[in-house]
Symmetry: C4
């Protein structure tokens, strides 16, 4: 494989192949994309190809207007949602969509995932929002494009920053996550699945479990992301 | 191994061997069959043989009247159910039966699996029906033959097409699935298990979770199966 | 390894090694024994040895009065329960004890596992009984011996035959299973764990789920164990 | 690798590498330390390094005042909690912290794990305590140091001995466990996760499940740890 987007395709391919290894997908139920900001294109999984058959050269290159730039295959049916988010959120480098079990179950329940503990607070400063299902008129129109709108509207209404909360549930559907690169987007999908599972179990054990206190939310965010962060290695 | 049905046996064998790999069976708790419409026979797993011991040549060939056509072993105890469905539904090419955990649990609860999200709607246009348990008089008679009737009656009463919903739960027992070939029937069993698990979790999180809106059911079905389907690759 | 009980030890060892492979134990939480009726001794796992370290020659040979006949190690702390059951139930050839998750949870809930479906009925003709916790005076005495009594009393009070139901829960503790040989005892432990999990899920989905009808219990038992059984291969 | 603390680092490394193998951590969500009482230092995992990248020489050596004695990397962000416990509890040789699913869920529910059965009683003489969340003023201060205080205060208030109960939940956060060496601390984390899962399931099956009787708690503790202990091998 050679060509202009070889490295971008490989990065996208490797992030996609993490999904079955992390038990986040069965069959074709997911997709990851990787953006090249300079070229204003992104690489994305082709539609309906099982992970065990996927090869780096199958990855499709698409621009922000959803036009195929390179690749023989049809891109993921969710491509327009990815394009929309890359256009709107200029700081993200990768997007991941799965149908992972616990995240989907919260999305089907149409509920935000409450912030119950430090596992959640190490990664987000608020509940993980669940975007309300789309109006029928929009479903009938440019559905996947409108899914991008749905995410944007949800973050605006709830006054959440996509830089502090890198994950969302689409009501009735499932999760989208993002990050500085596709590997981080996949990491966020795995973390979201664990947070979703823990929050489910917490409520089964104690239906009145309280949310984490603001002081602890701030502490755990600052510990990892604040000016004097001391989690991880320097540099 | 050579002979008239070698290819059919191998297809049936490979579909059966998927079941333990997909965590859908333990020991002998499942069976897959593959039909040859031209020859009017089907290949099916022998009864009571653990998957780790199964060999392609063990597969039994049976006609629609349940007569063994080829093979030294006794066919699956569920053979008459398979025969009945092949006779009644001329468009199906494979059938799969398992005792997978979540699908069986819904069958034991004697409840249809509600259509809560797009994972479900990508594969079915309605709730997954649970056929009511059989009358005692029928149990005492030709039980496995009547199980076929039970499925057919259920689809007729609920006005569901077996082409749109390729899965059913038998009350108190477990799931049967089918498809254009045995691999698709197995795929449907795996998808059903995931849908059953997600629906269970959804109701635990929100006992009042609403069904998916008709507009979204239609959209997701059309996206994959409609005239202008755009999911997957062309051709 | 050579000697009088070499074959018995190997059979016992192999059955024990199935437990971690079937995800029924962590660390040392289980034990299997195998009886030699002619010699009136049984082979059992040594106490407190992790499965990954266990070797065939570590297996201990004990008689029905709990006296060590061969072997350098101390036998399982549950040895007296095994001895009691071998003495009382002359038709069994192997016994298995685990702390498998779902079976233990029902034992801790101190509830019989209701017969909800055919997976259960293919193996048992009634609910799986949970023996009530022991009186304090007995706990303080010969505890593991009394555990055998506890099982026997439970089956007598509930009028269940140990030949039709090869599994029991000890309230607050966990499951014991048995069978014609140690491999069947282990098989029954794996089946019990699955039945326990399905029954738990069934009640979560539908707290009013009805028990299986007597006609279906009889049908599934006869299909596998009756005079005209047609499940499995002949001979 | 050579040097004064080579053996201590290796012991710490091996205990850390058990965590992903036992399914107790994803990514970097855990850490194990090993103490050298003579040298008054302990070895601990570096902060934010994924397990698949961890090497023995990455392990950091720290003294009880949290000063780095050897190693190029920054030690775990939980180091001060470990140091505090080593200072206060002179009999422990290793400490383990994870975000394992069921233990975290009980911690988020802010509830002690009730002693429901012998699996629990084989390892602890009481409920597993959940320390109440920290006051906001302490969170803002020396947080990880105060987490050590939080554990100590919890054990003092509930009059529990850290020698009989080698595990604790930090409310809203997750579990810490300890033991005579780091391998035992990891063992306790695995056992805690199983106890937490069983207790959760027990309450789902029977919300009124009774605690284990004192006579059985005593019997199972003495059987393993009493003067006349007969569990395991002698010597």
């Amino acid at each position: 494989m050679s060509g202009r987007y070889t490295e971008l395709k490989r990065e996208c391919y490797e992030a996609n192949m993490q999904l079955p290894q992390l038990d986040l997908v069965v069959y074709t139920f997911g997709n990851v994309s990787a953006v090249d900001r300079k070229e204003a294109v992104f690489a994305i999984k082709p539609s309906g190809i099982p992970y065990e058959q996927l090869k780096p050269e199958d990855i499709v290159i698409v621009d922000y207007e959803n036009r195929r730039v390179e690749g023989a295959m049809r891109p993921s049916s969710d491509t327009k949602t990815h394009a929309f988010l890359y256009r709107e959120w200029s700081d993200i480098g990768g997007i991941c969509h799965t149908h992972s079990t616990y995240a989907v179950s919260w999305a089907q329940a149409q509920m935000d995932i409450p912030i119950f503990g430090t596992t959640h607070a190490d990664h987000n400063t608020s509940d993980i929002p669940c975007a309300a299902p789309m109006a029928d008129s929009l479903v009938a129109g440019d559905y996947e494009h409108m899914t991008g709108h749905q995410i944007l509207d949800c973050f605006e209404q709830k006054k959440i920053s996509y830089k502090e909360v890198e994950m969302v549930l689409i009501g009735n559907h499932g999760p989208f996550t993002w990050g500085k690169d596709p590997a981080k987007a996949v990491y966020n999908s795995r973390v979201l699945e664990e947070i979703a599972r823990m929050a489910y179990l917490t409520l089964q054990i104690n239906p009145n479990a309280p949310r984490l206190k603001p002081a602890l939310i701030k502490k755990h965010y600052d510990r990892k992301h604040g000016k004097e962060a001391y989690y991880g290695q320097e540099g």
